[in-house]
């Protein structure tokens, strides 16, 4: 082999090596990105389901007939449990996927759902609908916040 042929052979091998390495890096990062996006999608989906369930729970309690309404004590305990699930999902999103706004959403959701739930029987219909309006507003805020977060960070 002549010297140019040796160089050509080395260059060709090096190019093949770097092309393969580049391809591997591209596939690795792309797969990782897709996996992360799927993980976030799943967590956001679960958070949305929980938020909607929480809102439905609020509607059932705050707007139900006095005779069929669940006892405030047990309702608050169940609602707190739902809020805890939402907290757990938000914490995972915050810890691993840069989610922001957890403290505001949680405090507003808790306040809208549970503040004065113990004295629900003393509220008149206007006050009940006002509370329900606040709860719907918080649900919308949570859904919009989650959707914006997903679209901005992972689209």
């Amino acid at each position: 082999m002549t010297q140019p042929q040796i160089w050509l052979s080395i260059l060709t091998s090096a190019m093949a090596f770097f092309l393969a390495l580049g391809g591997w890096v591209f596939v690795y990062y792309n797969t990782n990105r897709v996996a992360k996006r799927a993980e976030v999608f799943s967590l956001v989906g679960k958070a949305v389901d929980k938020a909607v369930a929480l809102d439905r729970r609020c509607a059932d309690f705050w707007l139900s007939e006095k005779s069929t309404r669940e006892q405030p004590e047990t309702w608050i305990a169940g609602t707190s449990s739902e809020l805890h699930s939402v907290r757990a999902i938000f914490e995972l999103l915050e810890k691993y996927h840069g989610f922001e706004g957890k403290k505001t959403l949680l405090s507003e959701a808790r306040q809208a759902a549970t503040l004065d739930a113990e004295s629900v029987t003393h509220l008149d219909i206007d006050q009940l609908y006002q509370r329900r309006g606040e709860q719907v507003e918080v649900l919308n805020k949570i859904l919009n916040h989650l959707y914006d977060y997903y679209r901005i960070r992972h689209d």
């Binding site: 004590e73 707190s80 805890h84 907290r87 505001t104 405090s107 503040l115 004065d116 113990e118 004295s119």
Partner: protein, 113 residues
């Protein structure tokens, strides 16, 4: 001058409700028995309230938080400035701090000194 610590578990592992009609571990009782005496005591420089020692997974209800902390201004007539100077809420959950601060600000606005 002293620093006093109030650990929630010494009051209740599951605090609940606003008034005694809601249950024994209510916000009014917590405020009157635990917080107010310390905040009104001029010898106490700082009051640290530890919220996270409740039962694992337990979430506070808003009525308890409002009555315990908002009531300091609304009922006990302690000034917002004094509360800000002396009260420290210790918790890993920033949402509780935010909510309590909101109740204090709202009460200070509605009941200015």
């Amino acid at each position: 001058m002293t620093i006093e610590e109030v650990d929630m578990k010494t009051f209740s592992a599951t605090p609940y409700g606003r008034y005694s009609t809601d249950g024994p571990s209510n916000g009014e009782t917590f405020r009157t028995k635990r917080l107010t005496p310390l905040l009104k005591n001029p010898e106490v420089e700082e009051v640290r309230v530890y919220l996270d020692s409740v039962r694992p997974g337990y979430e506070y209800g808003s009525s308890f938080l409002e009555e315990s902390f908002g009531g300091l201004i609304r009922v006990e007539k302690i000034s917002y400035d004094l509360i800000m100077k002396k009260l420290r809420i210790i918790t890993s959950h920033e949402d509780y701090k935010l909510e309590i601060d909101g109740y204090l600000k709202k009460a200070a606005k509605r009941f200015p000194k």
